[in-house]
């Protein structure tokens, strides 16, 4: 269980001015829950994710994982970025085994685990390939299983499908739901696509900017598999869309 308690985060810009990225945020994420954060750019959604990963530290407040505070990055909380982050000097298989290597797990077991995950996403034939030989969508699938192979409790995803074309994106959204169902992980997924959020999430956290804060949390009461064309789906879309629309208006005075 993840708990964000009264968290504030300020950044120092290069000109010395302080920017309030997140103000007084409170959020609780249950085990095995799928939560999406949506919001306009600059609303602090990526900052929230980085704080949860331990790559950044809150200015005020605290973040608890199963009751204990976060102390730097950990393989307990795997992260997938929008950018392609596979290590280019390693093969696909060696990328997936990286986290296990860090845990000092034996070579045989590492490879066995990696192969299992490669099969899970249908990339077992690419084990010996290098990342540059893979398409963007394949690279992101490998990035997801690289994080999963380290057996995290929580998977943090920062617009992982943002750089992909629409069809690949749809495909990977379905893949992700399938993986989430079979692997039983808690997932926190940041996106600026409302559709993506409604399609994936148990709950959608809508964030607003200046300062970054939670505006509303919407429970998505739709059975899976979901279809983006249904009436209820569209109602959710309109609701969230209207909330974000106002935020955009404020951005342009």
């Amino acid at each position: 269980m993840l708990k964000i308690i009264d968290v504030t985060k300020t950044f120092k810009k290069t000109d010395g001015k302080r920017v309030l990225a997140i103000s007084n945020m409170n959020l609780q994420i249950e085990e095995k829950e799928f939560v999406c954060i949506v919001g306009a750019s600059g609303c602090g959604k990526t900052t929230t994710l980085r704080l949860l990963s331990g790559l950044d530290i809150p200015t005020k407040g605290k973040i608890l994982v199963d009751g204990s505070p976060i102390n730097g990055p950990s393989p307990e909380r795997g992260i997938v970025f929008q950018e392609y982050t596979l290590f280019p000097w390693r093969t696909v298989l060696e990328n997936v085994t990286f986290g296990l290597e860090m845990k000092r797990i034996g070579k045989k077991e590492r490879r066995r685990t990696a192969r299992h995950y490669l099969e899970l996403v249908g990339l077992e034939d690419y084990a010996e390939a290098y990342p540059y030989e893979l398409s963007g969508g394949m690279q992101q699938r490998v990035a997801i299983i690289r994080a999963l192979a380290a057996n995290p409790k929580v998977l943090l995803m920062d617009e992982p499908f943002g750089a992909l074309d629409a069809r690949t994106r749809d495909f990977l959204q379905n893949e992700l739901i399938r993986i989430w169902t079979s692997e039983q992980k808690t997932i926190l997924f940041v996106t600026h696509s409302i559709n993506e959020a409604i399609f994936l999430a148990d709950r959608v956290v809508v964030m607003k900017s200046r300062p970054g804060r939670i505006h509303d949390i919407i429970e998505i009461d739709l059975p899976r598999p979901r279809y983006k064309t249904g009436e209820v789906f569209k109602d959710y879309y309109t609701r969230i869309h209207d909330m974000l629309e106002n935020d955009l208006d404020k951005e342009q005075p």
Binding site: S53, G54, L55, G72, P73, S74, P75, R77, G78, I79, F81, E83, T85, F87, P88, W89, R90, F98, G99, E101, M102, K103, Y130, P131, Y132, E133, R146, A147, A150
Partner: protein, 278 residues
């Protein structure tokens, strides 16, 4: 225009060298002054007998061996110092702040400008003075301390600068990804920082070796030198054996060329991922 056939490409590659050789030979025959412009067959005769003792300096092969031994000593020392230092300066801002001004003020001094100072410090002492067991070795027996230092200085800076550049050029996101996968300390250094910057370090090594080689040949012309390719051509000059000078220069150039190509080959083979990265 890569539709040309192999023989055509070889033709264009060899066109200029062959033309130059012909012009050289014609001029050599015309002037008939072998001490100024030796004929190609005289040069070829020197090159064709690399095991024959030339003058009193030993054979071509021996002098090559001595020069290569020296350059390798200096080069490996330079790499052993410059790579760790470069990683340190590239990764830690504080290390860079502390060291940068010193490095930047020493770097513009040409390696050969160090020669008088180094000779006055170390004289003509060779490795054999410290390690007597080496004195019987053809290659390492003649490795003079001052020469090693000059090569070291020549090779050091390209390796250092490229290492710093390589480490600084690692996308932050690689390091962050590695950290969230549980990597830190030595594992981060050896599994991420070193492999990610290795292609750039290799470029530094290649340039460093080339400069080290040039410095060596010059250093071997300095007082106290008694062997090596640089000494050979200098000694040949004093005896006006121009064909040996030219043969020596060709060998020096070829060795430099082969070393550079060797490195390029490794770079291309081992780091195919670099050129494919967007």
């Amino acid at each position: 225009m890569e539709t040309r056939s192999v023989s055509e490409r070889i033709f264009f590659r060899l066109l200029l060298p062959v033309l130059l050789a012909v012009v050289w030979q014609v001029l050599a025959i015309y002037f008939d002054k072998p001490m100024v412009l030796p004929r190609l067959e005289a040069v070829g005769k020197v090159l064709a007998h690399p095991n024959t003792k030339i003058l009193i300096t030993g054979s071509l092969i021996e002098n090559m061996g001595i020069s290569l031994g020296r350059v390798m000593c200096g080069f490996f020392l330079a790499a052993a110092m410059a790579i760790p230092l470069g990683i340190l300066m590239g990764y830690y801002r504080l290390a860079e702040r502390v060291l940068e001004s010193t490095v930047e003020s020493l770097r513009p001094i040409p390696p050969l400008a160090w020669v008088p100072l180094i000779l006055s410090w170390f004289g003509i002492k060779s490795l054999a003075d410290w390690f007597p067991e080496l004195s019987s070795s053809v290659i390492f027996g003649g490795v003079q301390f001052s020469m090693i230092i000059i090569i070291l200085i020549g090779a050091f800076f390209p390796i250092l600068l490229n290492t710093i550049h390589g480490v600084k050029g690692i996308p932050v996101i690689f390091i962050e990804s590695a950290r969230t996968l549980g990597s830190r300390g030595f594992s981060l250094l050896f599994k991420v920082i070193v492999p990610a910057s290795l292609p750039t370090i290799m470029t530094g090594l290649r340039i460093g070796l080339g400069i080290g080689w040039m410095c060596l040949v010059a250093a071997e012309m300095m007082p106290g030198s008694n062997a090596g390719m640089g000494y050979l051509i200098w000694y040949a000059y004093e005896l006006l054996r121009t064909e040996i000078i030219v043969a020596g220069m060709i060998v020096i150039g070829l060795i430099g060329f082969v070393m550079d190509r060797g490195f390029r080959y490794v770079e291309k083979k081992q780091f195919a991922w670099v050129s494919r990265m967007k």
